[in-house]
Symmetry: C2
Subunit: 417 residues, 2 copies
């Protein structure tokens, strides 16, 4: 069979299974998730063996240590994958929820009911835990899934896929979990063309992967682009809170999308706040890149270029800008931000109100670290990522965001006049 | 200025205005809607004059009578446009609604708040009332709008645009309503490329327009494709209800997307139901196209080709098929349907349950006419159309569906540990 035939066939199977999957009870889905978790936990030797093939290939290809670390599966990571599936089993099932129900004067009862989306294809890069997380999230929400991981983790991904499908075979409809058995580009491109079978694409990985998928396909894509997150320290900020929050947002875990990348400071608080803040950052090894005004206060820092304000460093680097007002801060966020997460530090209600209302990001914070943008931190449980899109899902994309709805209308002979 | 510069500039203005528009109070928005309605009602002579230009051009081009009728604005239609804007003013404003609010153990208060989408471009065909309806719906939901109507109604659309923007100029942000001042294809194509400024595209018109927009653009599109709506008359149907409902769904207004296009009948009720049904349809001038089995019962009807079952006739034509079971009916709907509206007529709970749960259409009915799929009939008020997509909006696309949400998080110094 040719690559495109193989891919088409598996997409058709996924679509076919999605019909039965939509009707599966929560009990059965949870049972399948537990079986998958147990199978992963019990078969660590098999997973290590397959993972080793990927690690060896990566070492031979001279891939960097950070890359290899992300690829590596050890006992802790295997336990995390299994635990995550069990955790998904414990979450409540959104499918079938009656979102709203009302009756019309003619007696028609209209229920707006939460339903699965259908078939979701996940296009992802190196980390093998994406395989089990996504299968768990899609199964829980009654969606068929097509997995297309990166070539670097091919053997690890396949091992996880084998264990999960084998252990759940008696519980879930055949074909509900599909694995693209080749990592060549042609197979991906063909998958991206199957808008009759695939209802949604979720690329998980770097910007170039996301852009590739988005540009190649006519299937709806939910993008998890970069997080150029801002904290704006207002004239009326509590300096103590501001220092603590900004430090946390930059330093606690700089390599993630909800870390602060740009610090905006009102000119009237700039000296009072920036001097101690910069010291704390210096001690933590954070490189500051500031505007001309901030360099007057902190002559030792680097100059920021215009392009710095667009950057998601994912590292101990921070751009700094002094602004004249909350309005200037809002304008800056509009121009340079990525609609991910932005925070204002202030004790003044008008400024807070303005910022929270006008900044058009998935998450806007008052007096808190941007690092809370996360499914678990929100209390939503496991998530697919943080959507920076505005259509369908915004911010943490948890179970509910993997569903759609339909209207179920009960009549007893109603006709339209 | 070149066409593309013009289009880019107006899209930028729309984007810019959307920031202020998002913060506009319901009172001001409603006032603007009333002003627009009054201006349309008061300036009918101006509208007639501009509409006449379009009508003359259409007649000169030899366009059909049905087309010209849709284009024509008379006193009744002008009143309807004005009334529709007033009606939108009366609906409650979804923007700012707190969809959900909860507190985390660390004290963070998370509000999920309904917000405008941003900039919506409407690409539409001949009927000029689309202009005023869409401006009303977008303004009410705080979205900036870019109007790109068809060349046939250019003068009528422009007149309505002029009246609406002029009458509301003191109330709404400048640039919130934009009109593409040329109908050449280049302008449209350029508009479709502006994914930095336009957040959502809604094409309103025939299949070819929708496909064109969808294929040309990387901006999210919500499609309102065809309605190949089915009614399945089950073995345990109440024949009286079935006759009344099927007649209504086909005959009451055959030219709309929620009319029945295909009738499925269980074999065990086929003779009892189809004989009187076919007579009623014959009297109403409905042409039936049936499968081999139905032709045995009704030898005088035409034979259906395979392709008939995919067709949205929008006319007094109906395809008929006899099926063996509710399962066969469901399979048929999956294969030939368009995920719009489908109904089962039965008094048997198991069959009803199966059909309602498994048919994956925007609206599934029990013992009612498919003709109820409509924003007003649902009690949602005015709508943009009926989405046959699954992402973001499904079924009648009313005010709520023209919004998205953001998370507003209130802290008092929280950091992540």
């Amino acid at each position: 069979m040719s690559t495109s035939q193989t891919v088409k066939k598996l997409a058709q199977k996924a679509k076919q299974s999605s019909i039965d999957l939509a009707g599966l009870s929560s009990g059965i889905k949870n049972k399948a998730l537990i079986k998958m978790a147990e199978s992963i936990a019990k078969n660590s030797l098999y997973i290590f063996k397959e993972n080793k093939k990927d690690l060896q290939k990566a070492e031979q290809s001279g891939l960097g240590a950070a890359f290899i670390d992300r690829l590596r599966l050890d006992s802790r990571r295997i336990k995390e994958m299994a635990d995550s599936l069990k955790e998904i089993a414990r979450l409540s099932d959104p499918v079938g929820e009656i979102i709203r129900s009302w009756q019309r004067p003619n007696g028609l009862r209209i229920n707006k009911v939460r339903t699965p989306i259908g078939v979701i294809a996940i296009i992802y890069e190196s980390r093998p835990n994406v395989t089990s997380d996504c299968v768990g999230l899609c199964l829980k929400t009654g969606n068929a899934i097509i997995l297309r991981g990166g070539s670097e983790a091919f053997n690890s991904n396949k091992a996880l896929y084998n264990l999960m499908t084998h252990s759940s075979a008696k519980l879930i409809p055949k074909g509900a979990v599909q694995f693209v058995p080749t990592t060549d580009r042609k197979a991906l491109n063909y998958l991206l063309s199957l808008n009759n079978y695939v209802d949604l694409l979720i690329p998980r990985g770097g910007e170039s992967l996301i852009k590739y998928v988005y540009n190649k396909s006519k299937i709806p894509v939910i993008k998890h682009y970069k997080g150029v997150c801002h904290i704006y320290v207002d004239q009326y900020a509590d300096t103590g809170k501001a220092l603590k929050i900004c430090y946390n947002a930059k330093v606690q875990r700089p390599g993630v999308c909800n870390a602060m990348e740009s610090l905006l400071v009102h000119k009237k608080i700039a000296v009072k706040f920036l001097v101690p803040m910069a010291e704390m950052f210096r001690d933590a090894g954070v490189e500051l890149r500031g505007c001309a005004k901030s360099k007057k206060i902190l002559p030792w820092i680097k100059s920021a270029k215009e392009s710095d304000y667009y950057k998601e460093y994912l590292d101990l680097v921070l751009s700094v800008k002094i602004v004249d007002s909350v309005d200037s801060a809002i304008k800056h966020v509009y121009k340079y931000g990525s609609s991910h997460s932005d925070s204002i530090i202030t004790e003044e209600p008008d400024a807070a109100f303005k910022f929270l209302n006008r900044v058009d990001s998935a998450c806007v914070y008052l007096n808190a670290s941007t690092r809370f943008t996360d499914g678990y931190q929100f209390g939503l449980g496991a998530e697919m990522g943080i959507s920076t899109d505005k259509i369908h899902a915004r911010g943490p994309m948890a179970l509910e965001e993997l569903t759609t709805y339909k209207y179920v209308i009960f009549g007893n002979g109603q006709i339209r006049s």
